[in-house]
Symmetry: C2
Subunit: 375 residues, 2 copies
């Protein structure tokens, strides 16, 4: 069998589970840091592990263009190449092809596009995407899909979803099943309930090792996103992991977990870390702000990351203002740690049947605002 | 007494010594990584320590402009601010004022200049420079000097040196002697023997805890630099540390140690690390070079840094080509480790009376060229 998943306990729709892959176990709900170009930006792999991360996401689009999937395969696969021995999930490239590449042309077979790096022409099809992901040695391969734009008419959303479903079928056909490696399907259908349900049913019929909800976090807003989850998740199998792609802010993760989601990925903690933006128990903090310039206190007194244990807000402010790489390193580390702490807290709460209490406390703390503003 | 220094053994003119400061002991010969803006760029302080570094250099010019010396003082000093509990040496700002700032105006009193950050006006005098360095909490304060340009006439070199000597006297006057903290004088005089000797004698008469050779590594070349050392070092006290400022490449360090120098600082290992350039036992390696693209071997098989222990040249090449921060992090780490390994090797060789053998082997290995070119 491919990868195994068990739901160990539930609290409402929220679940705690264990996902077993060739490269180790993942406790769900889980957050996957994004390692776009075979690196979680500004982090050593050992430091990523230290934050509590158990699985990373790699990007097929970026890696196929540079350094190339066959080169990574020749060098022993993505795990070895980037020095990460834990599980890796790769996206299918569909999303990036639509959002990053130029002159893309879509037909039934796949997408032709030009590289954002050197302008060279490439084609991604379901078969090609699966091949690349298997060359990379990905533990969780994602089916190739079209990322439906937003907003979109129901008619266009249906066309796009149906194409993604035919591509999901072809992805499944070309996936080479191996022990410890799995294939996930992706539900599409934009914000339309009948399309989402139809998509979920089609995927279930094809049969996958996990089910992702795609096409969200594209500008639809928190409420709509959660609404789409509410209309979609009930149609997904209970005994398979559910993955909300590209999401999100801490409160998005919390609400999605409440609605039965098990897995997440997002560039937010890493990208924000490179621009002086931090996530804390008291909400978001912009370290560029002058109010931190003389503040000897840690960014988040409850956090165990090196940033909060060893340095002051004044120092972080100085690093960010000076454009120092260490600023990006420390804030990325902190943000990833905060996200992992949040997931750990969620898992504990679910295990103890205290998710409602956890949620109340989370929103209370977040709404208190940053401690540094209370002087 | 201020700081203590003892020469523990000698091999020719080369010495092994121990320098004791309030923040710990330094084994000499030593290389000080440069932490310009209160951070060794792209490195965590703990990682800098792991490379074997025992003392850092901080820049008065940069820190006085941002975040400001009084702010760092209010926050508990530079050690605490940047999370480095080992010794720190600060330069006097003289060199940077001459090379980095705009619209500088020099008179007997000091230098008026405009900040490269915001264009604001500032003045540095010997008294001001010493005050700033003491506010920072520097273990080794450098006397304020004028960095003589190169090339320069003997007449101009003499004028500049004599000014620096008057400033050295004023630096000494305003330095507040404390246990575990010391003040170094700086020999000037460009490439002119009589001026260098005169400068060394004047400084010795004033009396310092250590003696730096300044005004080198400004384009005079390896041979001339070593020549200036040969004409200068014999005039410096045997029982005080000698510091060659802003130097240099590995072979410069080796030759300077042979001529009795104990301390070095240079941006080369850190700056090169951010541009894909590595120092190895087989010479310099440019990781941008396409010949590394598929190379599964480590950068330097004899090196114990994470870069060489965990990653391939192919991966480093990929990071550098992709402009990834991790590339700067790993190569900076490697370069600092290489420099510290070199200093460790030099200390061992001197202790065992094997410096000549060490030198021969060093030049043999360096001249073999990079292993990756031998395919």
């Amino acid at each position: 069998m491919s990868i195994s998943f068990s739901v160990d306990c539930k609290d409402g729709f929220a679940r705690c589970g264990s996902l077993l892959t060739q490269h180790g176990k993942i406790d769900t709900p889980t957050f996957m840091p994004v390692g776009t170009a075979a690196t979680v930006k500004a982090m050593m792999p050992a430091s990523v592990k230290e934050t509590g991360a158990q699985i990373l996401l790699g990007n097929t689009y970026h890696l196929m263009l540079r350094p190339g999937a066959s080169r990574i395969k020749d060098l022993g696969g993505l795990h070895k190449f980037m020095g990460w021995d834990g599980p890796i999930l790769t996206d299918s490239g569909g999303y990036q092809v639509m959002s990053l590449s130029q002159l893309r042309k879509l037909d039934e077979d796949g997408v032709t596009f030009r590289s954002h790096i050197d302008g060279s022409y490439h084609k991604l099809t379901p078969e090609k995407s699966i091949q690349i992901q298997q060359d990379l040695g990905s533990n969780i391969t994602m089916a190739f899909d079209e990322c439906t734009p937003f907003p979109v008419s129901e008619e266009e959303a249906e066309r796009s979803m149906l194409l993604s479903m035919r591509w999901a079928e072809r992805s499944k056909q070309s996936f080479n099943d191996r022990d410890g490696f799995g294939l996930f399907g992706i539900v599409q259908g934009s914000i339309f309930e009948s399309l989402r349900v139809q998509s979920a049913k089609k995927l279930k019929r094809i049969g996958f090792d996990g089910y992702a909800v795609g096409g969200l976090a594209v500008g639809e807003g928190h409420e709509t996103m959660i609404n789409v989850l509410k209309m979609t998740v009930p149609w997904l199998p209970e005994d398979k992991p559910r993955y909300l792609m590209g999401v999100g802010k801490p409160r998005d993760l919390l609400a999605a977990v409440q609605n039965g989601v098990d897995m997440f990925d997002c560039v937010l903690p890493t990208r924000s870390g490179r621009t002086g933006q931090a996530f804390t128990r008291r909400g978001e903090v912009n370290l560029r702000n002058a109010r931190h310039a003389c503040d000897p206190r840690p960014l988040d007194a409850q956090c165990n990351c090196p940033s909060c244990q060893q340095f002051s807000r004044a120092y972080l402010h100085h690093l960010v203002k000076s454009g120092e790489i260490l600023g990006a390193m420390l804030l990325t580390w902190h943000n990833l740690r905060y996200y992992q702490d949040l997931m750990r807290g969620l898992r504990e709460a679910i295990k103890n049947g205290l998710l409602a209490e956890f949620t109340t406390l989370f929103h209370e703390e977040q709404s208190l605002g940053d401690i540094a503003s209370i002087k």
